[in-house]
């Protein structure tokens, strides 16, 4: 409770500063500072960059957790990290990587790229965009606070009941998980709605649905999945919160509850979640492969169709995570068939990428290398996916390292490699500077080799009977060598990530700026300066087909045809309300976790609704940028 009070005082202090109650001069000074600019920004590119760097931060945190796990497993009967601490590490590794690393990295790229690709000046709801980011940030901090106050969550990233109930997890760990994820979940929901409305309502003239770049399409599909998949998680977390904090009995068997309900709610969310993170990676692949093969994406319409079909089927297969629960042969069979069906649209995508490269003029840039490494790696992950989709076989694979190998092939080999490809590809657009290609190649090769060295042996560890989530294993049962190889492999991945970090730092140090279109690319974001001005497009461009920029280049045009005359551009104004709203929910979350009484929690909620109420009366409609204020340097590059 003491820590809580300190935090509240700190929060009030912050509020005092923000509202100017502290010192007028300080306020003026603050409003000019860079920090204030980033705290209050509603610019989609800046929010994207914030998302992206938060994602990288949590990716490193989750990576260190993974390294510690592999250190413990390097030899049998190791006592480096045992028992509760191992459980906390393994839980937080999963939670961090899925919710706090993969999601913000994806949102980061979506935020920066999607409005540019559809020729929009901003997202549909700039305010909500900022709110989504700050909710994510505060939720992520809340989840991780467990390391410092009390204990970290330790019931696995799935947090299965009854293990996650008070009786078996008495500390505050699961409370941090429940409330932290609830807050990030609200942010995610808001961002999903924002992207959907942006893509539906804000496309430039001529940008019909079947002319949208594939990354925009997969963003659309992902957002639609999020829209329907987040509510079940929200309900599941709400019920778990009621059970833990308010004495409800949803999951307590002795009071008539049912632990299967949690599994259903979690996996109705959890399975779409893996498609939520992989679909944007598919989109990145399509952009990168098409650009660096200098060819139109093969089978564009079938790619779109496959994306939509994957997101639909992704919702219909959650029971394959519960084959061994005992739901009966009928449900197991239905969901097994549905699961294997997903291989069809995914296969369509893989073949389309291969056919795009066929006969293309391939350039082996780092982004393209990651795309090329992605295809076989992801296909292996997909194959093992079909293997575990067979219920009788799944009884053997379940809860073994085979499964760990399977989902790391899809999530690291698929999502992370996709994100690295996207990072190298869009880095010049985000920051106006190229990443170093030599360092990039070191990054790629050490990451790829390290990855396969780490996870390929785990297939066999699983088949030899090593259970997942257990902190040690016995000697002389044939598990030593493969575990050792697996741990050695992590060094390769670590070197890769360090090379990437060095590359990021170097790119900020170097002065050399890139032109608008360093890759000779195909879509709209490459028609404007790198990095783009706040208003993106001086004049909204007119789109004449798929690969809009390529079409103009083929026709010999130096810029897009404008769809409107030059005029003042309306821009939303910065606001600190999203930060304040997220802070109040954070205080509410802390208050509920502190338990003793819920006064602080209720106070936070009241603060939240008051800021919301005040915001409703706010009539600030932003400002206009006049044509004279447009950067002179941008004059030549209209569109």
């Amino acid at each position: 409770m003491g820590t809580l009070l300190v935090l509240i005082v700190f929060a009030l202090f912050l509020v005092a500063i923000f509202t100017g109650g502290y010192n007028k001069d300080l306020k003026g000074l603050l409003e000019k500072s860079t920090v204030w600019d980033w705290l209050t920004t509603v610019d989609h590119k800046k929010i994207g960059i914030l998302y992206f760097f938060s994602g990288i931060f949590y990716f490193v945190v989750g990576g260190i957790e993974a390294l510690l796990i592999r250190m413990q497993l390097v030899v049998p009967q190791n006592d480096f990290i045992v028992g509760d601490t191992y459980n906390e590490l393994m839980t937080m590794h999963g939670t961090t990587m899925i919710f706090l690393a993969a999601m913000p990295l994806i949102f980061g790229l979506m935020n920066v790229v999607v409005p540019l690709q559809i020729g929009a000046r901003d997202v549909a709801f700039p305010f909500l965009n900022a709110l989504g980011f700050w909710l994510f940030t505060f939720g992520a901090i809340l989840v991780n606070l467990g390391w410092f106050f009390g204990n970290a969550p330790d019931a696995g990233w799935t947090s299965y009941v009854s293990l996650a109930l008070n009786e078996y997890s008495p500390g505050p760990g699961i409370d941090y998980y429940v409330l932290g994820l609830q807050i990030t979940g609200i942010g995610t929901m808001i961002s999903a709605i924002n992207f959907l409305v942006t893509i539906i309502n804000m496309r430039a003239p001529g940008m019909s649905f079947l002319r949208m770049p594939l990354f925009t399409w997969t963003t659309f599909a992902t957002s639609a999945l999020l829209l329907f998949a987040m509510p079940p998680l929200a309900v599941g977390l709400l019920l778990l919160m009621f059970d833990r904090l308010f004495g409800a009995n949803f999951f307590d068997y002795t009071m008539g509850g049912s632990s299967i309900i949690w599994q259903h709610l979690f996996w109705i969310f959890g399975h779409p979640e893996v498609y939520i993170v992989i679909l944007p990676a598919f989109g990145i692949m399509s952009e990168v492969i098409s650009t660096f093969s200098k060819k139109r994406l093969y089978g564009y319409t079938s790619m779109v169709f496959a994306s939509v079909l994957i997101s639909f089927l992704g919702f219909m297969v959650w029971v394959h995570h519960m084959f061994t629960v005992g739901l009966g042969p009928v449900s197991n069979s239905i969901f097994a068939v549905a699961t294997m069906t997903i291989a069809v649209p995914t296969g369509i995508k893989v073949f389309n990428w291969l056919f795009t490269m066929w006969g293309g003029e391939i350039r082996f840039t780092t982004a393209m290398l990651f795309a090329l490494g992605f295809i076989p790696t992801f296909v292996i992950g997909g194959m093992t996916g079909v293997m575990v989709a067979l219920p009788p076989a799944d009884f053997q694979y379940q809860d073994s390292y085979f499964l760990v190998a399977h989902f790391h092939y899809t999530l690291v080999g698929g999502v992370v490699m996709g994100l690295f490809a996207g990072a190298y590809y869009w880095w010049p657009k985000m920051f106006g500077k190229l990443l170093n290609e030599t360092l990039g190649k070191i990054h790629f090769w050490s990451f790829l080799i390290g990855f396969h060295l780490t996870f390929f042996p785990q297939h066999f560890l699983g088949l030899f009977g090593m259970p997942r989530r257990v902190f040690t294993y016995q000697p002389n049962v044939g598990l030593e060598n493969l575990n050792l190889i697996s741990t050695i492999g992590t060094i390769g991945m670590a070197i890769g990530v360090l090379a990437f970090a060095a590359n990021v730092v170097l790119s900020f140090v170097k002065k050399e700026k890139v032109p608008n279109d360093p890759w000779n690319a195909r879509s709209l974001e490459w028609t404007i300066p790198s990095p783009p001005p706040a208003y993106n497009f001086v004049q909204t461009p007119l789109i004449r087909g798929y690969d809009a920029w390529w079409i103009e280049k083929q026709a010999g045009n130096k810029s897009m045809k404008p769809a409107e005359p030059i005029g003042p551009i309306h821009m939303p104004s910065s606001t600190f309300v999203p930060f304040l709203m997220s802070l109040s929910l954070f205080i509410a979350g802390l208050g509920f976790i502190a338990r003793e009484n819920f006064a602080a929690g209720i106070l936070g909620l009241i603060m939240f609704f008051i800021t919301m109420f005040v915001r409703s009366f706010d009539r600030n409609h932003g400002c206009h940028i006049e044509p004279e204020e447009f950067d002179q340097a941008n004059k030549g590059v209209k569109a």
Binding site: N201, P232, I261, H264
Partner: protein, 103 residues
């Protein structure tokens, strides 16, 4: 896309408005009747017990669609995306309920 919903002529709009209010009231009367029918079925036991659930579910569904297409204006032009997403929502909602209760 821009302004496509707003192009109807002024004269027609006025008579439309009077008609629309009448339509709301008629739709409301239907809703009350459907509700009354559901309550009647349950409280009197007029039909066999195993038929009650499907019957009241059908009545509820009709009522929901009345709400969606009259009170919530899905019958008007330019609402295609609203309809697509709300129908998808209803579909996934059904999947969730069936999944949790029966699976």
């Amino acid at each position: 896309m821009v302004q496509q919903q707003n192009q109807s002529s002024r004269g027609r709009a006025v008579s439309d408005k009077a008609n629309r209010e009448m339509k709301y009231v008629i739709s409301f009367i239907f809703m009350i009747l459907l509700t009354a029918a559901a309550f009647y079925l349950v409280s009197t036991g007029a039909v066999a017990e195993h038929l009650i659930l499907p019957l009241i579910l059908i009545l509820a569904t009709i009522q929901v669609f009345l709400q969606l297409f009259t009170f919530m204006h899905l019958d008007q032009k330019g609402t295609a995306f609203y309809t697509i997403f709300i129908i998808a929502g209803i579909f996934f909602a059904a999947v969730c309920v069936v999944g949790i209760v029966l699976m």
